[in-house]
């Protein structure tokens, strides 16, 4: 579990910066004010269980609250609505103690019934796409009004972490059930228009695709540095500004206090701006190309990518540092495993497949393609990064005789073809939603979920290791399982790993205590504006 020194040093520096700004805050926190934050896209559906997009996930924790909370480094858990937790010796149940006097934002008490109902709803099969994170929950039993016991179908090393994830948010059972609609999905739609949770903020108004206003929840349980309840801010206004250039102009003109998704090309410029604090938050984001490894492509032709040596040749022919410079203007770092350095149980210390064109040529020759071959890649139309990556790959692979045809498609088209296995290569980006490697591994590696990123890659030993790791309670053994999974996948897997990138956020110098955790969640509970 050693991160590369470079990444670790970067993460530590940022962490030190955050902790530093927080500890300064001890003397100087200021209360009040509304923070105006520029987002690249609006939320769609503010419902913990049935949402399916990052635009929702990454702000849900401001409105809803969970039994446990992730630590700021995203690697372990701390108390939330529950103050204590104990996993039984046999690993088959978890006993949780609820905090005293916890309330929803409408002032009504949070009861054990709410907890029971919320967790059972999240664990209901086919209720939303996040159920897999809590599939081990068999039953939720109320032992007494302050104690709830999760009965598990099998041991689950990630169950505590799962209790920090948005889909296990505690929701008011009575209010939800009183919402109009016949089905859970209909009620969820109605409820999410005026959500009631127990997070630090309350949704006050929402002008779709324009502006969302949150105000502070007076019933939030957490204490601030000054001994009074959080949050410090009176409210947050999210302004939706999809155009990068406009979002930056608005930030630089002082109309925004902060903005997300700063284009990599502008990071240096904003670092030099005396009024702004350009922060690169450590993330779990990885960018990679996915290769279809089926023996035949959908048009019936033979697929060179099914040959492991060909995939390795493609990997060795790519100069990752070159791509990082061209696409991320040096903001990214090369990948040392298919999962990010911020993902627990990440292993690997050196960049994968350092560029070696001669070795690539030799591998292609060994594989029976001495003169290369023609292939194609899907790039998301209008996405500057993907188009830059594709054209750079085109040039790099041309050196080993591989001709790359770049096909620009929109997201729905690409996804439909990808899911049907009707693709050759595509670019992709991934961020974890849970501070555990099980999510990325189940999608990238495990053949029985979505066929290893729909590539049809399959390794029985790795499948078996994954299944074993899903119930392994000993962290050391689990780390070993993951080390093996990563070693095999990194060497022979169906991807060309490209780079990891942090989350680029620019804030006014006066804004303190904001964190975007590696999972992407924007945490405003301890944010304040210095006067």
């Amino acid at each position: 579990m050693r991160a590369s020194f470079r990444n670790m040093a970067a993460a530590l520096l940022v962490a030190a910066g955050i902790v530093g700004s927080l500890s300064n805050a001890a003397e100087a926190v200021t209360r009040g004010g509304t923070l105006v934050y520029g987002r690249y896209a609006d939320s769609l559906f503010l419902e913990p269980v049935l949402n399916d997009a990052n635009v929702d996930i990454w702000i849900l924790s401001n409105i809803y609250d969970t039994l446990l909370l992730p630590t700021d480094d995203g690697k372990s858990v701390q108390p939330g609505l529950a103050t204590a937790w104990k996993v039984a010796d046999d690993g088959k149940s978890v006993t949780l103690t609820l905090r005293d006097n916890i309330k929803f934002s409408d002032g009504s008490p949070i009861t054990a019934e709410d907890v029971q109902w919320s967790l059972k709803r999240a664990a209901t099969p086919n209720n939303g796409i996040w159920q897999f994170m809590v599939e081990s929950i068999d039953d939720v039993v109320i032992q007494d009004p302050k104690t709830v016991v999760l009965k598990l179908k099998h041991t689950d090393p990630a169950i505590l972490t799962a209790l920090t994830v948005f889909n296990t948010s505690i929701m008011p059972k009575k209010l939800f059930e009183a919402a109009p609609g016949a089905t859970d999905a209909d009620k969820a739609k109605a409820f999410a228009e005026h959500p009631v949770g127990s997070g630090p903020f309350i949704l006050q108004s929402w002008q779709r695709n324009s502006e969302m206003k949150l105000v502070r929840n007076p019933y939030y349980w957490r204490q601030g540095e000054d001994g009074k309840p959080l949050p410090y801010l009176d409210g947050i206004t999210f302004e939706v500004i999809p155009d990068d250039a406009t979002r930056l102009l608005k930030l630089k003109s002082g109309e925004l206090d902060g903005a997300e998704f700063i284009p990599y090309s502008r990071v240096e410029e904003l670092k030099a701006d005396a009024n702004l604090n350009m922060v690169l938050f450590p993330s779990t984001r990885v960018e990679y190309a996915t290769l279809n490894v089926r023996p035949k492509l959908s048009d019936g032709s033979d697929n060179p990518l099914s040959n492991e040596k060909v995939r390795q040749a493609l990997n060795y022919a790519v100069d990752k540092d070159g791509i990082i410079q061209v696409v991320t203007h040096g903001v990214g770092t090369p990948m040392t495993s298919f999962m990010s350095t911020a993902t627990p149980f990440h292993s690997g210390t050196t960049p994968l497949f350092p560029v070696d064109v001669e070795k690539a040529k030799q591998l292609l020759k060994d594989a029976g393609y001495p003169n290369g071959f023609k292939t194609s890649i899907f790039a998301l139309s209008g996405n500057e990064d993907e188009i830059n990556i594709s054209t750079t790959l085109q040039q790099m692979w041309a050196q080993i005789g591989v001709t790359l045809d770049i096909q620009q498609v929109d997201n729905a088209t690409r996804t439909a073809k990808y899911r049907a296995g009707d693709f050759t290569m595509r670019l992709g980006a991934w961020t974890d939603d849970i501070a555990d490697p099980n999510e990325i591994a189940s999608y990238f590696v495990y053949s029985k979920n979505i066929g290893a990123l729909h590539t049809s890659w399959k390794n029985d030993e790795v499948d078996q290791l994954f299944e074993q790791s899903q119930q392994e309670l000993d962290p050391k053994k689990r780390a070993d399982d993951y080390a093996k999974i990563q070693a095999t996948y990194n060497a022979t897997g169906p991807i060309v790993p490209l780079y990891e990138t942090p989350y680029p956020v620019a804030l006014k110098k006066s804004v303190k205590g904001f964190v975007q955790i590696p999972l992407g969640n924007n945490i405003f509970s301890s944010t304040y504006i210095e006067k």
Binding site: Q207, P242, T246, L249, A412, T415, L453, H454
Partner: protein
């Protein structure tokens, strides 16, 4: 004035147009590659997820059945529920339409305010310095893409001089006008360039017409001639052009709404197409089609009022 019969005839003509538009939209949006489930849950979707979503959205039914449901609901005034934002389509459109309407109307007014006086000046000072200068300036306006004009305006008048907000829409009517000033101006620059060119030649044609000689020989004052004859005649072609180019304006609105972060239906349309949000795309197309038809109708009626020969 145009007769009632003429108006009714024109309104009746709108009905088959709208029916054709309904059918075409229904078919086109469904023949796009990709599907709503893919757009919604993306890469991580399993086949079960996709099947569940298709069933929820009623997409597991056959196309004719879906179409009948759709048409039947439209006649009840129900445009369905958005796939992506889970709200009634009519509610979302009603919420987003005002921004685009105000933007388009402001752009049209700004364009007229720019084009009419300058076209006059150019026509009267034909081929002299003023004319050449005005025409060159508009040529530049015509060749600048709207998003570029928009960014220049934002950078200079917004972030630079702080005269206007950098994008956004504001909270009340007054601030809507304030926020939409720059985006309307960005659209107006291009639109005015289009109008100016034909308005100038229309004015020149009128100025050269024999009936003006007649009017002058009657001893009418120059001011009266300009108002009664030149302006009125030139206006007919301007109104026609403005009506015809309303499509261009709406098209520019799509880009302008993105650059200026305005929650209008142009951006909604683009987002909905990407999301394969069938009910939303259908609803928007229908509303836009009705709007454009109404604008064409209004154009015809104004023309008819200005030139009674048309209504016959």
């Amino acid at each position: 004035m145009a007769g009632l019969g003429y108006i009714l005839r024109r309104v009746a003509l709108m009905v088959p147009t709208l029916v054709v538009i309904l059918v075409v939209t229904f078919v086109i949006v469904r023949s796009l590659p990709g599907d709503p489930a893919s757009a919604m849950i993306g890469d991580r979707a399993t086949d079960q997820d996709a099947a569940r979503i298709n069933a929820e959205l009623g997409l597991d039914r056959s196309l004719p059945v879906q179409f009948i449901f759709f048409v039947e609901r439209v006649f009840r005034g129900d445009l369905g529920t958005s796939f992506s934002i889970k709200l009634p389509v009519s509610e979302v459109i009603a919420d987003r339409l005002p921004a685009t309407l105000i933007l388009t109307a402001m752009a049209a007014v700004f364009a007229l305010l720019l084009a009419v006086p300058l076209a006059f000046l150019a026509a009267i000072k034909r081929n002299r310095v003023e004319d050449v200068a005005i025409r060159s300036a508009f040529q530049v306006g015509l060749s600048m893409p709207v998003f570029y004009t928009g960014l220049v305006l934002l950078t200079v008048l917004g972030a630079g001089l702080h005269w206007f907000p950098v994008g956004g829409y504001g909270d009340d009517l007054a601030s809507h006008f304030y926020h939409l000033f720059l985006p309307a101006l960005a659209i107006a620059v291009t639109l005015a360039a289009i109008l100016m060119r034909s308005l100038r030649s229309a004015i020149i044609t009128v100025l050269d017409a024999e009936y003006l000689d007649f009017a002058r020989s009657k001893g009418l004052a120059n001011r009266v001639i300009i108002l009664r004859h030149v302006l009125r005649n030139a206006f007919i072609s301007t109104v026609t052009l403005l009506g015809l180019h309303i499509g261009t304006v709406v098209g520019s609105a799509v880009i302008t709404e993105t650059v200026f972060a305005i929650p209008g239906i142009g951006r909604l349309m683009i987002d909905s197409i990407y999301a394969r949000d069938y009910p939303m795309v259908q609803g928007l197309t229908l509303v836009l089609a009705v709007l454009v038809s109404v604008i064409f109708l209004a154009t015809d009626l104004i023309q008819a009022a200005l030139d009674p020969r048309i209504a016959r």
